[in-house]
């Protein structure tokens, strides 16, 4: 099931200065912690002058579309899916 939402979410982001990689490693959603196992895609989009970083990430159970607003430095989850059709 694919659920489109737009609510704040807690995300742990890690930057590795050796590999120059920045990636979300953990997501706290509805009181439960989900370890990010894979990043499917990272892309950027502009909303006016605000740059948004979109991380499409997978945990063992769920898929999350996480959006980092670089203006407010806040995270929003825009989509949650389990890989099944609606």
């Amino acid at each position: 099931m694919i659920q489109k939402i737009s609510v704040p979410i807690s995300v742990a982001l890690v930057f590795n200065h050796k590999t120059r990689e920045t990636k979300p490693v953990n997501v706290l959603w509805e009181g439960r912690s989900y370890r990010v196992t894979r990043i499917g895609l990272h892309h950027t989009v502009r909303q006016g002058r605000t740059l948004l970083h979109v991380f499409s990430v997978e945990s063992e159970l769920l898929f999350f579309r996480l959006v980092l607003n670089t203006e407010s430095l806040s995270w929003t989850v825009e989509e949650i899916a389990d890989g099944e059709s609606n």
């Binding site: 499917g40 950027t44 989009v45 499409s56 997978e58 898929f63 579309r65 890989g83």
Partner: protein, 404 residues
């Protein structure tokens, strides 16, 4: 070399969401049962799902079909990444659409490695650097047409060459309709002149092709089929247009006017961003009963203000003789001219008007599209979403060349 990303939108969605990989996925204009499927994944294609089908038809063929709506920003980002990777091999690179590129490698260091070797390297690098689920078909040929034909021979993940030694064999296995640019009407023309297979088409003398097409197009086909390059043509910008498929029933000009305003605002804003103004407005209406009505109009001076474009478009809309539910509304601006100067009027201050429009555009650019919206668009905020045009990527080009 022709590089084609297989099942582009669906593959990108599967790349983004690993839980969708290996499953039948289709990207549709709308997720409703009557929404049009624009990109089925490889797995969905294996079930018989094809571009142009309705969502309900796709779900009949493939009950587990996962329907997604388009996410243009994602696809544009992938396009830009592809382009960045391919420009490491040559700067003679032509994007033909969001998922297709043509590369001319002749004279570049990569050419000395051999085309097959470069193609293999590009395929490997795409998987490693852009996305492991993205597969491309690569075709190599002496001209664009044969390279594209080669890219279509083995999908997905193909790598084929068409050259003088195998061209007859390839044509022998290809039906006429599979050739890019040949569809039912052209097949009828060719059949009329006793050309029933691609080999008949290839072996036909020039006079026969000229007669079949009744124009210079026959000569072009004669060259194209033999590997001469005649498609290396850059077309300039001819118009700016936007269209919208209506999900609800609207019939009268009054009901359609807010949608028309939004279409005009989008087309006008894009046109101004590229530094053009237009002297012609065209409106096209496709009705739910299958009727189609369209009309174009030229005005006495070049228009740049969306409100003026709207007035001309609304005038055309009122000329339509039909008052019946509309299925698709399209508006375009043509007869374009670069905005080098503004013709001043005796009784109105055009400079002031131009500055006002520039200020509104600047605010919308800074804070997001439609932060300032015309009153006529009230209640329309969610309608007419961002879309990627088939084939046309001129604005994407502008975005790449002039990043933020």
């Amino acid at each position: 070399m022709h590089v084609d990303l297989n099942s582009c939108f669906a593959s990108v969605e599967q790349q983004a969401n690993p839980k969708l990989r290996g499953k039948p996925v289709a990207v549709a204009a709308y997720s409703t049962p009557s929404g049009c499927i624009i990109a089925p994944s490889v797995e969905a294609k294996e079930c018989g799902v094809a571009v142009g089908m309705r969502v309900r038809e796709g779900k009949v063929l493939c009950p587990g079909l996962i329907i997604l709506t388009p996410d243009p920003a994602k696809y544009r980002n992938i396009h830009v990444q592809f382009r960045q990777l391919l420009t490491e091999y040559t700067d003679r690179i032509t994007p033909k659409s969001i998922d297709e590129f043509v590369l001319d490698l002749e004279g570049y260091p990569a050419f000395s490695k051999g085309m097959m070797s470069v193609a293999g390297e590009i395929k490997r690098r795409i998987k490693k650097e852009i996305g492991e689920w993205l597969r491309v078909s690569v075709g190599i040929g002496p001209n664009r047409f044969l390279a594209k034909t080669a890219a279509g021979l083995h999908k997905p993940d193909g790598l084929d060459v068409i050259e003088k030694d195998n061209v007859e064999k390839v044509y022998g296995d290809l039906p006429l309709m599979k050739l890019c640019g040949i569809k039912a009407n052209n097949v009828a023309r060719l059949n009329h002149y006793d050309m029933f297979t691609t080999l008949d088409f290839y072996r036909a003398p020039m006079w026969k092709l000229k007669s079949a097409f009744a124009s210079i197009v026959g000569y072009y086909w004669y060259l194209r089929l033999r590997g001469w390059e005649i498609d290396d043509v850059e077309f300039g910008r001819g118009s700016f247009g936007n269209s919208y498929a209506l999900p609800d029933t609207r019939s009268t000009p009054e009901e359609l006017s807010p949608l028309l305003m939004k279409l005009v605002e989008k087309a006008g804003s894009r046109m101004r961003k590229d530094g053009y103004r237009a002297k012609g407005i065209h409106l096209s209406l496709l009705y739910r009963n299958g009727c189609h009505w369209h009309r174009g109009m030229t005005v006495t001076e070049h228009l740049f203000d969306s409100r003026d474009i709207y007035k001309a478009a609304y005038r055309i809309l009122c000329m339509s003789p039909y008052i019946t539910p509309v299925a698709n509304l399209a508006v375009s601006c043509f007869s374009l001219e670069k905005s080098l100067y503004t013709q001043q009027h005796l009784f109105s201050d055009m400079g002031k008007k131009e500055n006002l429009i520039k200020a509104v555009d600047a605010i919308n650019d800074k804070w997001g599209d439609f932060v300032i919206t015309p009153g006529r668009m009230m209640g329309l905020s969610e309608k007419i979403v961002d879309r990627i045009a088939f084939g046309n990527i001129k604005e994407l080009e502008a975005m790449i060349l002039a990043p933020y």
